[in-house]
């Protein structure tokens, strides 16, 4: 067996940190060296939960690792990318790539110039129902695509996600990119135009929670997405991710969380009906692809160039909401 790859986590700000840290800690081909975080308490707690070291000095950690997962707030992605690029550390970055197209382009430049291996955490591409859909589409079973309809509703995440200074925006920023990226992956078509109805109607927060996007792909296909933070906190799970592709021959529909059990908790703070996902863990598959790409020196399935495309859609959506007009996406 080859030597384990020394890996770390750069900022534990994101709610997905535990999911990725857990996978890293479990892998025998990875040596989970440590977590660094500008918030020492948050970093120390994350490190403790996964049996690794909290490294206060980020440069120290970057010297000791070959690859890392950036779980920082959106506005900090660019800085972490630049530090990792300078240190020659390969990175897997939380989505969205950045809160602005300007930052996303700078990240793409850093990636190209530093020649590091870099990926974006888009687990939907790795979920088994989406892989099955990709097979059908590639085999030509769907025929010509007539329309695409998706959802990625969620509970309001709170924390820095609702601080525009850290997130760059609300539901549009947080819950557009997964389905937009999946459609790019499945169809090979970029979004060419966006009309957005955006508002804050569910929560008393400083960012948007209504995210209803009417889009058109470059080939003219209508593509609709509801990515609102519209699921109540008491809903049975975090949210949903669904996609339906209507073709001339076949309609294909996928539901990311459908492979779930109902679990009723009778008492205590979690009392109520919950769902427990038993499908193949897409995060494990995602890390698998990244670790392989680091070892092989190849691109992971989702690159910063793909991440930039999703950010361009977000920026167009916000512009549409501001102007009340459909907006051409500028890539």
């Amino acid at each position: 067996m080859t030597d384990p790859i020394p890996m770390g986590i750069l900022s534990a700000a994101h709610v997905h940190t535990d999911a990725y840290a857990g996978v890293l800690a479990d892998r025998e081909d990875v040596s989970f060296v440590g977590v660094t975080d500008e918030d020492a308490d948050r970093g120390r707690e994350a490190a403790e939960r996964h049996g690794t070291e909290y490294v206060a000095d980020a440069d120290d950690l970057l010297e000791r690792i070959d690859a890392a997962v950036i779980c920082a707030a959106n506005v900090d992605h660019r800085a972490w990318f630049e530090r990792a690029g300078a240190a020659g550390v390969d990175v897997l970055c939380e989505k969205p790539l950045a809160p602005t197209v300007e930052d996303a382009r700078a990240i793409v430049d850093t990636w190209r110039e530093s020649e590091i291996v870099a990926g974006i955490t888009m687990p939907l591409r790795f979920c088994e129902p989406a892989r099955r859909a990709k097979e059908s589409l590639e085999a030509g079973e769907v025929g010509s695509i007539r329309s695409i309809s998706g959802t990625n509703r969620g509970q309001m995440p709170g924390g820095w996600f609702v601080d525009p200074e850290a997130s760059g925006g609300g539901a549009v920023m947080d819950h557009s990119v997964h389905i937009v990226d999946l459609v790019l992956h499945l169809t090979g078509e970029e979004v060419s135009e966006v009309y957005a109805e955006v508002d804050t109607r569910f929560h008393d927060i400083a960012v948007d929670d209504v995210n209803v996007l009417s889009m058109e792909l470059a080939d003219g296909t209508p593509f609709f997405l509801d990515g609102s933070w519209s699921k109540p906190d008491s809903w049975h799970t975090w949210g949903d991710a669904t996609l339906e592709v209507t073709g001339s021959e076949t309609t294909v529909a996928i539901d990311y969380t459908d492979q779930s059990l109902f679990h009723t908790v009778a008492s205590g703070p979690d009392a109520g009906v919950h769902t427990a996902f038993y499908g193949t863990d897409a995060n494990t598959e995602l890390i698998d692809d990244f670790v392989d790409s680091v070892r092989e020196g190849r691109d992971p399935l989702v690159t910063p160039a793909d991440g930039l495309k999703a950010v361009a859609v977000i920026e167009a959506a916000y512009e549409s909401a501001r102007t009340g007009e459909p907006i051409d996406v500028d890539y």
Binding site: Y195, D209, V212, E216, T251
Partner: protein, 320 residues
Amino acid sequence: MRLGISGAGFMARTHAEAYEEMDVEVVAVASPSGPEEFVEEFGLDAEAYTDTATMCEEADIDYLDVCTPTHTHVGQVRTAADAGVDIFLEKPIAGTLEEAAEIADLVDDADVTFMVGHVVRFSPSYAKAKDLDVGSEGVARARRLSPFPDWGSADWFADREKSGGVFVDLAIHDLDYLRWCWGPVERVFARRHREADAEHGFVTLRFDSGAVGYVEASWAQPESRPLTMELEFAGDDGLVEYSNADESPYREWTDDGTVVESPFAKDAYRRQLEHFVSCVDSGDEPPVGAEEATEALRLALAAERSAERGRPVSPAEVGR
């Protein structure tokens, strides 16, 4: 109560099934190609006519149930109004606002009881959903997906001049329902994909209240897919979700296939027609008259205009 049905196609059949259970008499049926087969199939003790005017003159009916293609509605209503009989008219009220206005004038001048068949308002699930509290309105979602309607006589659904297309014929169900539940709409934005025998569209709505909604309507599904209906109301204090695909209170499996039914003592069509009959009896104003049905049509036409022009459209700018 004596009634005549105009039309002998899919919707006439649906209504005839409801009437079988109701305390009314279908005494006449009119269809240009002759409704004898239809009369026989439902075992009706009804006279067969080839034109509605003669039926209204001769059959001594209390009301006319118009189940004919959309582009014929104004003529049908004129005939019934001239004869002074009350009128139940299938949705959409008409294909254009000019025709809808003419219908409104005709029924007003004749002072007849008039209702348009926005049956979704009478659907047990949709009616229940309207009554559930979700707090302040956030996002409404309504989907209605079907294969292409190939059951119209002479394929009239495929002729967009006659049917109006997927917004005017199909999305109008949910446009009316959402407007009924969440009030008037300030602007719509729509996209659609259209082929000769397939159409699929999305309508985004911004209500006067500030809430957002959307309607997805498809005439582009494979034949194997049953009519699919989904509804959600998301508010700041709750969420209502409905999907008829998840509805399976009665199922059968045989070597030949599967049957899934959602049986009701009174289904949406029967509830709708019984309500109309009670209005005819009492003289009460039906809940979906010309005005409400015209506003639903206005939304569908706004969607049509938006899809054509590629920009948001205010319903107020359509037909005024």
